[in-house]
C-alpha cells in the first residue's frame, strides 16, 4: 500500500474506515436483535444506523473523490 500513489492509499484508507464503520454498525444491529426491548430499538436507531450511514457516506465520498487514472499517472 505504501508503494501506491497517494490518492490510491487515501482511497484505500477511506474504504478501510468505511468498512470498519459499517461492520460495527451491522454488529450493533445484530446485537439489538437479541432482545425485544425499547432500549434495543433505541440502540439500533441511535448507534447502529448512524454507524452504517456514516460508513456508506464515507465509502460513497471516497469513490466520487477518487482522482481519474490519467491524472494519477501524471503525478
Amino acid at each position: 500500500m505504501t508503494n501506491a500513489g497517494m490518492p490510491v492509499a487515501s482511497l484505500e484508507r477511506r474504504v478501510h474506515l468505511a468498512a470498519i464503520l459499517i461492520c460495527l454498525g451491522l454488529v450493533v444491529l445484530l446485537l439489538t436483535l437479541i432482545r425485544v426491548h425499547p432500549l434495543a430499538f433505541m440502540a439500533f436507531i441511535l448507534i447502529g444506523c448512524p454507524l452504517v450511514l456514516a460508513g456508506i457516506l464515507l465509502f460513497l465520498y471516497s469513490i466520487v473523490s477518487e482522482e481519474p487514472m490519467p491524472r494519477q499517472r501524471a503525478t
Binding site: L26, L33, I63
Partner: protein
C-alpha cells in the same frame, strides 16, 4: 423472546463478514472486481441489512412483550389476566379476540392510513418519558384522546352479535351513533371497565391452563 428470522440474521451476518473482508483487504478495490465487491458490500448490502433490521424492529415494537417491558406498564399487563369478563381488555386477551402477542397494539393503534406511524411516534415519546422524564403512576396514565369507536369497529363492525345486541339498538339511531363515534363504546357506561389498574388489588386473576 421473539427470535429474529434466521434468514435476516444470516443475511446481516454475511454483510458483516464481507464488510470485514473489505476492511481487512482494502487493496482489493484496486481491481475492477474488487471495486464491484466493495460497492456491493459497503453500499447495497448495508442498505438492505438496515432496511431489514428496521422492519424487524418495527414489527417487534408492536408486540405485547415490547409494550410491557417498561416497568410502568406492568399493571396494564396484569389487567389482561383479571378473572372478570367485564374487564374489556382481559376478555379480549383471554378469549383470543385479539392476538395475544400483539394485544396492546391491536387496540391502541389508530386504524387510519398513518395510524401505525402515529402509534410508533407515540411509542418514541413513551420511551423518552420512561428514561428521561417523570413517569406517572400507572393509575394516572390516560389516553391522549378518548378511545375512538373506530378501533372497536375495525373488528366488530358487521358482527352478528354486535348488530343484533338489543342495547346497540335501544333507539332507532343508536347504531348510527355508535358507528359514527357520537356515542362512545367505552365512556357511555356500557363497556367502561377497561384496564382499571387502580382496582387490581381487589380482583382475582385467571390462571391459564388451570
Amino acid at each position: 423472546m421473539i427470535a429474529p428470522t434466521v434468514l435476516e440474521v444470516f443475511f446481516i451476518g454475511i454483510a458483516v463478514v464481507l464488510a470485514g473482508l473489505i476492511g481487512a483487504r482494502a487493496e482489493l478495490t484496486r481491481a475492477r472486481g474488487g471495486k464491484i465487491l466493495a460497492f456491493l458490500t459497503l453500499f447495497i448490502l448495508p442498505v438492505l441489512a438496515v432496511t431489514l433490521g428496521f422492519s424487524e424492529h418495527m414489527q417487534r415494537a408492536e408486540s405485547t412483550q415490547f409494550c410491557l417491558s417498561c416497568h410502568v406498564m406492568n399493571d396494564f399487563g396484569r389487567s389482561l389476566h383479571v378473572d372478570d369478563p367485564s374487564y374489556i381488555p382481559a376478555k379480549h386477551f383471554q378469549n383470543n379476540l385479539v392476538p395475544r402477542d400483539r394485544a396492546c397494539y391491536t387496540c391502541h393503534t389508530d386504524y387510519t392510513m398513518f395510524g401505525p406511524f402515529h402509534a410508533k411516534v407515540r411509542g418514541l415519546r413513551h420511551i423518552y418519558v420512561q428514561y428521561f422524564g417523570k413517569t406517572p403512576a400507572p393509575a394516572e396514565i390516560t389516553l391522549y384522546t378518548p378511545f375512538n369507536n373506530r378501533e372497536c369497529l375495525h373488528c366488530h363492525a358487521g358482527m352478528r352479535v354486535y348488530q343484533e345486541e338489543p342495547k346497540h339498538n335501544k333507539t332507532p339511531d343508536m347504531m348510527n351513533r355508535l358507528n359514527s363515534n357520537q356515542v362512545s363504546c367505552m365512556s357511555s357506561k356500557c363497556h367502561d371497565t377497561v384496564h382499571d389498574v387502580g382496582t387490581l388489588d381487589t380482583v382475582t386473576f385467571w390462571k391459564e391452563g388451570r
